[in-house]
Subunit: 352 residues, 2 copies
Amino acid sequence: MSRPIQPVILSGGAGTRLWPLSRAARPKQFLPLAGSRSLFQETLLRVKPGADAPFLPPMVIGAELHAGLMREQARDVRVALAGIICEPCPRNTAAAAAVAAACVAATNPPALALLLPADHHVDDPRAFRAAVAGAAPAAAQLIVAFGIRPDRPHTGFGYIERGVELAPAVYRVAAFREKPAPEVAERYLEGGLHYWNAGILLFDPKVMLDEISQFAPEIVGRAVSAFSKAMVSEDLTILDAREFEACPSDSIDYAVMEKTSRAAVAGPLDVGWSDIGSWAAIPAGAPADRAVAVDARNCTIMSDGPLVGVIGLNDLVVIASGDAVLVAPRDRSEDVKRIVDELKARRRKDLL
Amino acid sequence: MSRPIQPVILSGGAGTRLWPLSRAARPKQFLPLAGSRSLFQETLLRVKPGADAPFLPPMVIGAELHAGLMREQARDVRVALAGIICEPCPRNTAAAAAVAAACVAATNPPALALLLPADHHVDDPRAFRAAVAGAAPAAAQLIVAFGIRPDRPHTGFGYIERGVELAPAVYRVAAFREKPAPEVAERYLEGGLHYWNAGILLFDPKVMLDEISQFAPEIVGRAVSAFSKAMVSEDLTILDAREFEACPSDSIDYAVMEKTSRAAVAGPLDVGWSDIGSWAAIPAGAPADRAVAVDARNCTIMSDGPLVGVIGLNDLVVIASGDAVLVAPRDRSEDVKRIVDELKARRRKDLL
């Protein structure tokens, strides 16, 4: 019989590149960016228990501030949460992976853990589940990353270079490659051996704890202590603040995946994946009742209230949300972070 | 002794090219666009009674809807209004000139009338008054237009071509020229014989009534009747709606000035004149507390509330005012009218 899989949804991201729609109190994973459901809800439905993959009810790791939103949004899509692990501060994905591994090892020893971001969109959840189930045997020994087949030479993602095939659609990892230069990304696209790193991992908790112990012992020490000393209250597991704050902040890719020999990559996934990382990923369009566009092409206009009038502009993003308006060319939308940073410097918490 | 001059301020403009700041209930002449005072207030101060020109307390022609604003803004700058003539509907400048002439002839027979728009900015009001006083002798016989020395080949203005000199800085009009093509405007600029038509007129009311009678008899008939049948209530003279609505709508330039032989042009005025006709005329700038501009150059950002974040854009106008946001390249700002027209077509009076 196949091992159960415990989904652990990483919901700690701030989504600042989707400011001003994405705010500290309601970051992008909780917004309905790709349909009527939020990305968080899509993620819940993607990994809820069902016939086609042995998933246990999902757990979430994120900020306590958002626990109410998580419960409410889970209830709306009728997915029962196994619990919410609250991070007292953001400490990146290595600490979260350690906490997830410690938690699954403690609560469901036979289960594999599926660590996945809360803010991705997937067109074909069924194919996603099949890929996860197919990678489960390899995950008994190896930490399995999931690779997305690139459809363009994207320079904003990390890439995973596949090595020898271990099983159908599961390869040993030859190398993790950081965000490439355009000409390198072009080569990756042509070669067919490189996949986008989707930041999704399937692993045996003991293997993960072993590997973090080997390559980032301080992270595993602090994160596991934070979990052991956590305060449990109803569905919340509130990590110990002192331990977690003392935990080094690093990504699981840098801390472990680039160093371990026990890494595999499953894929390439053909599931219609998108990380909706910035406004550039939102299709052009405008709300008929809240926009007047004259001689405008390929603009993304959103408004939660004011009428937005645009004249003679192409490839622009105009977002009126709450007490803020963003105007940026589509291809500069990654720089929204610079506005957010400036607002932080001005201590304008009301706008973050 | 020189004849007194009765200023009559034309405040009937809608200022739609400055939407969304300029709205039906508060059009641009009532907005502080060029400093702490509104253009209407600047105009009042420019023509208030004083030692350097024989001005009578100013009268205003405009919409009854704005009478409260006019009184309030006049009070704020301590200018006493002689009265407000209310137009039941907009009928362009020929009708207004006829009404002004009829009114001045009735109330101050010896006075000349100075008809001037409420929405111009002048850097040097003293020089403006001197030019008006200097043109008064010619205005006993002729309708005197005021010409602005062009400093660029503007294609959005009408031009006045000067003829023989009648007195210092007063010429017979050789021709009125409509908005020229760019190469024609360039020639005008080089030649030195063409001035921008500022839409300011100084005249003897009887001469004006004679000339409108000759070239646009229906206008003078209806406009004078509307004035004769007006309802007077405190400081308001409310023109008869039936007569005024029946009055043809035309500009005084088309109806009279281009046809009459009794036209002169005074100037060129070197008074730092600007008509602030569109956003392009507003200097670049952004409110420090309500804008974050990253890699942005020569942008005009205004906001009455929301924070406006702009990235990587040049020569742009972003105006957040009330329940609307405008985004347009500076050189397309004349087309704001197209947004206003679309909102009219959608019957969105709330946004006009």
